[in-house]
């Protein structure tokens, strides 16, 4: 029950945060002409896998959902957990932890892990994560190359790293994560 409440809170805070950011953005837009501010601001959606925090660009997030019914599909790589019906559209469910060899996201618990639908062009997938965090706004020049200590298995999925408050956050390489899945070996 308490779990559920924190989930609701999280969603609430996410919405509030988004609103706040929009307000701030409107504010800064209004001021822009006066101040000649040139820094590019990028909004990032934070999420947690295990103990680590990661982020995707808000512009690459289509939606977030929590309640869903998953169907497993045979003959897919292990990081594809199945598919889900979102308003008539079929979306794959990707476990980024498995993809990056960081263990796996617990799917069988009492509450479904939240899912973030990432999209680039006409390719989309739902990433299941342990927890969805806030939306953070960072300056584009604050995004650094990926930390060199990260594992090779992860390296290809991380396009950069950035400090958000205290934490170091890995920025997800959406394109890599959305690379089309082909199995069976027949062309």
């Amino acid at each position: 029950m308490s779990d559920f409440n924190t989930e609701t809170e999280r969603t609430m805070s996410l919405a509030e945060k988004a609103e706040e950011i929009l307000a701030r953005r409107a504010d800064s837009l209004a001021r822009e002409s006066a101040e000649e501010e040139v820094t590019d601001r990028i909004s990032l959606l934070l999420f947690r896998i295990g103990e680590e925090w990661y982020a995707v660009r808000v512009s690459e997030v289509r939606e977030i959902f929590q309640e869903y019914r998953m169907t497993s599909v045979p003959c897919v790589p292990d990081y594809i957990q199945g598919v889900v019906n979102v308003r008539g559209e079929i979306l794959s469910i990707t476990d980024p932890a498995k993809l990056m060899k960081l263990g796996f996201i617990e799917l069988e618990g009492e509450v479904r892990p939240p899912a973030i639908v990432i999209i680039k062009g006409d390719v989309a997938t739902a990433l299941v994560v342990d927890e969805i965090g806030d939306i953070a706004e960072v300056a584009s020049e604050d995004i650094e190359p990926p930390v060199s200590i990260i594992d090779r298995a992860q390296a290809e999925f991380i396009s950069g790293s950035v400090h958000v408050g205290e934490a170091m956050v890995g920025l997800i390489n959406t394109e890599r994560m959305l690379e089309p899945v082909v199995t069976g070996g027949r062309s």
Partner: protein, 781 residues
């Protein structure tokens, strides 16, 4: 070669011209309303100029000439030398239609169906005479007479006749269909002069052009509505159950009340009397309102249900077009081909008005073209041979479409030489598809289906159809895989061949058998299902270590569907084994499942762009209750099942080996890496991966023991060539076979690979599962 190049560019030109012509056609209409629109005139002039230039580039001089005249007129209008008059509209349309016709026919004014000289003269007259009404009218009447003359000729050849009709209305795509009537007498009435009128009228009808994607998303929403409606109906049933409960409560209350009345007047009950009355009224009211609600709700739901059903039907019809949309191009194509192969052929088309889903039409065109080409090339004999055999000199190809329930049957029949199973077998053995022993075990019918094997008759086909790349195997794939239909062929030597394509009415909805395996429900398209049965376990025989079952004096190999799909085995309930047998290209295979759930219509949904191609899975469907069910892919199932049951000489069974083999894959592309990984894992290997040569080498030097290394060439840090050299020059690693898989396929690059010490070199263009596995297998043997 020169011929081929040109036709490739003509295709490009046709694409480009289509857009330009569309814009010019619209321009003419707009110009009529707004003759002074300078911007529009400029645009039209440029478009005509572009058509002139590019048609000349690809050698379509006739088009260039017409476009040139158009451009001349536009220049004069632009420069104010003449004004646009509505009279010009007709000439513009005539010119544009002529260009469309020529573009569609690769610039050939076959049989002189167009009066090009007359058109040129008329356009010149317009350009010079400033569009004087007198010239225009004279020209118009001249044009009509040229059209009337050929049509008035007695119709000897129907195919020719048909193309006249076509030429009389060379309006592309949405033009009314050309119906080729089979009886020659009927063909005497006048398509040439009557049609354009009808055509004109039908065009005036209110139509809107809508993007197909918009229609598709609408249909997607409709199928969601259908699903919601099914849910609503279930809810209605539940409320009826509630009403039943309410009635039970009411009955119980009546009994309680009667008892209370009987014991009335005793102590203590008086105090309750008020409450009893209150409860009585409340329960009565409640029962009435629940009853009314359930009644109203049920009515609402059933009314909506009718509307939704209508909505679904009308929605599906949005995408339907008559088969003639594609059939009408065949008379001309066949005539051209017949000429090319020096044959005399009569084409009969029936059922062109049968409506099909637009997507089906698009997909079916290439397979049909290919079957037709085969019929002309290999089917119909030359006239002398035919006469010698006692057949009429003119061969007949018959093409027909009809609807049977929820499926469309397209048949192509010829009265030609037929397919000789012995020749097919001989050729298959020669090409190494099957062994002599397998050949002698095949029935004539199975032999015939060999023509659908991948690349079976490539040598004969690739050149012949000028790079289109459609072989009979592709025909089969289109029909079975994309259209979820089935393809049958019957042939009698000397009598002819009969192809029958059975395809679902729409791509969106098919019939499927729902079955359960590994605790999950799957849908199997019924198109290829031969039968379903429940067999006694004692009827399942073991032959050479494989499970088979005898059906109608044939031995059908059996596999467990759960094995093919890699899902956990649950086992069937009861005493009999549920089996589905599938017939695909002359092969039969029985799939053992946990349960057969039932047959129903399903809406196909693609897996989306992320899951681009998943082995054994063709898509998913959403059932009434909202649950998602994977749809199985028949060709994949058959390929995998045959490999597993040992019918294909695949390198998969390696029971004689101790322990699994290990492969190191060095590949920087994620997709290729995962693809290769899945191939090897499916074949029972353990797989290690590295994202570049340097990482691969490090892992090997750290002591990773593998049986072979499969590497890409172009990788960051260390190329595959460098890696190969490093492995081969390290005494502890030199014994490991290295297989280079690359898109570099020039001889020098191959030489470099061999020089580096690679044991095998596979180019990605010929890359497939079997070559890769075969190669590795050979090297580590």
């Amino acid at each position: 070669m020169v011929e081929f190049d040109r036709s490739a560019f003509i295709g490009k030109f046709q694409e480009e011209a289509q857009d330009l012509l569309q814009r010019l056609n619209e321009g003419v209409i707009m110009l009529e309303a707004d003759p002074g629109n300078r911007e529009l005139i400029d645009q039209m002039m440029r478009d005509a100029h572009t058509i002139k230039g590019s048609s000349r580039m690809v050698g379509l001089i006739e088009i260039a000439d017409v476009a040139h005249r158009l451009e001349d007129i536009m220049v004069k209008i632009r420069d104010g030398e003449m004004a646009y008059t509505p009279k010009m509209t007709d000439f513009f349309f005539e010119a544009l239609d002529a260009i469309v016709f020529l573009a569609d026919n690769k610039g050939v004014n076959e049989g002189g169906v167009l009066d090009l000289q007359g058109l040129q003269n008329r356009l010149t007259a317009v350009a010079e005479g400033g569009g004087s009404p007198v010239v225009a009218q004279a020209a118009a009447s001249a044009e009509q007479s040229t059209q009337a003359v050929p049509a008035a000729k007695p119709a000897k050849k129907r195919t020719k006749k048909a193309s006249k009709a076509e030429a009389a209305e060379p309006v592309p795509e949405e033009s009314a269909a050309v119906v080729v009537v089979p009886a020659p007498d009927v063909a005497a009435h006048e398509p040439g002069s009557v049609k354009p009128e009808a055509e004109l009228k039908s065009k005036v009808q209110a139509t809107i052009r809508i993007k197909t994607t918009q229609v598709d998303s609408l249909l997607n929403l409709i199928s969601e509505v259908v699903i919601s409606q099914i849910k609503a109906e279930q809810r209605a049933n539940e409320t009826r159950a509630l009403l039943g409960e309410t009635n039970d409560i009411w009955q119980a209350w009546l009994r309680v009340k009667a008892v209370l009345a009987a014991v009335g007047g005793e102590d203590g009950l008086d105090a309750l009397e008020e409450d009893i009355n209150l409860l009585d009224t409340a329960l009565g009211d409640h029962r009435r309102s629940v009853s009314k609600f359930v009644k109203d709700h049920t009515e609402d739901v059933s009314r909506t249900s009718l509307v939704v059903k209508d909505l679904q039907e009308q929605g599906m019809r949005l995408r339907m077009l008559p088969a003639n949309t594609i059939f009408q191009s065949f008379p001309r194509a066949i005539r051209d081909l017949a000429k090319q192969f020096k044959k005399d052929i009569n084409l009969v088309i029936e059922g062109g008005e049968t409506e099909l889903d637009k997507k089906v039409l698009e997909e079916i065109n290439d397979p049909l073209v290919h079957i037709m080409r085969n019929a002309v090339d290999h089917g119909i004999e030359d006239p002398e041979t035919r006469v010698k055999m006692g057949k009429p000199a003119q061969g007949t190809i018959w093409m027909g479409a009809r609807q049977e329930g929820d499926r469309i049957i397209i048949e192509i029949r010829d009265d030609g030489a037929g397919i000789d199973p012995d020749k097919v077998l001989a050729s298959a053995v020669r090409k190494g598809y099957i062994s002599q022993a397998e050949a002698s075990a095949m029935s004539p019918r199975e032999a015939m289906y060999l023509i659908f094997e991948a690349g079976f008759s490539t040598a004969a086909i690739i050149t012949e159809i000028s790079g289109r790349g459609v072989g009979m195997d592709v025909v089969r794939e289109f029909v079975v895989e994309k259209l979820k239909g089935s393809l049958d062929v019957e042939s009698e030597i000397g009598k002819g061949t009969h192809f029958k394509l059975t395809i679902p009415l729409t791509l969106a909805i098919i019939r499927a058998l729902m079955l359960r395996t590994g605790g999950q429900v799957f849908a199997l398209p019924t198109g290829s299902i031969e039968e379903t049965l429940r067999a006694n376990p004692s009827d399942i025989l073991k032959v050479e270590g494989r499970e088979v079952i005898r059906r109608q004096r044939r031995t059908v190999p059996l596999v467990k569907l759960s094995d093919i799909l890699g899902v956990p085995e649950h086992g069937y309930e009861g005493s009999k084994v549920p089996i589905v047998t599938i017939g695909y290209s002359g092969h039969r295979m029985g799939f053992m499942v946990d349960a057969l759930v039932g047959e129903q219509q399903i809406v196909i949904k693609p897996l989306g762009n992320h899951l681009k191609k998943i082995d054994n899975v063709a898509g998913v469907t959403i059932l009434g209750a909202g649950e998602v069910v994977p749809i199985l892919n028949v060709p994949d199932l058959m390929t995998n099942a045959r490999t597993r049951s040992g019918q294909r000489m695949g390198p998969v069974q390696r029971t004689d080996r101790e322990g699994p083999r290990k492969i190191l894959i060095c590949e920087d592309s994620f997709t290729t890496r995962e693809l290769e990984r899945s191939i090897f894992e499916a074949a029972g290997y353990n797989v290690e991966t590295a994202v570049d040569g340097a990482m691969g080498l490090t892992r090997l030097r750290e002591g990773l023991k593998v049986d072979a290394v499969v590497t890409d060439v172009q990788m960051p840090n260390m190329t595959g060539f460098e890696l190969t050299k490093a492995i081969k020059s390290d005494p502890t690693l030199a014994g490991i076979p290295v297989i280079i898989v690359t898109s570099l396929e020039r001889d020098e690059e191959k030489a470099e690979g061999i020089e580096a010490g690679a044991d095998a070199y596979i180019t990605k263009s010929v890359f497939n599962q079997d070559t890769l596995l075969d190669t590795v297998e050979q090297l580590i043997r």
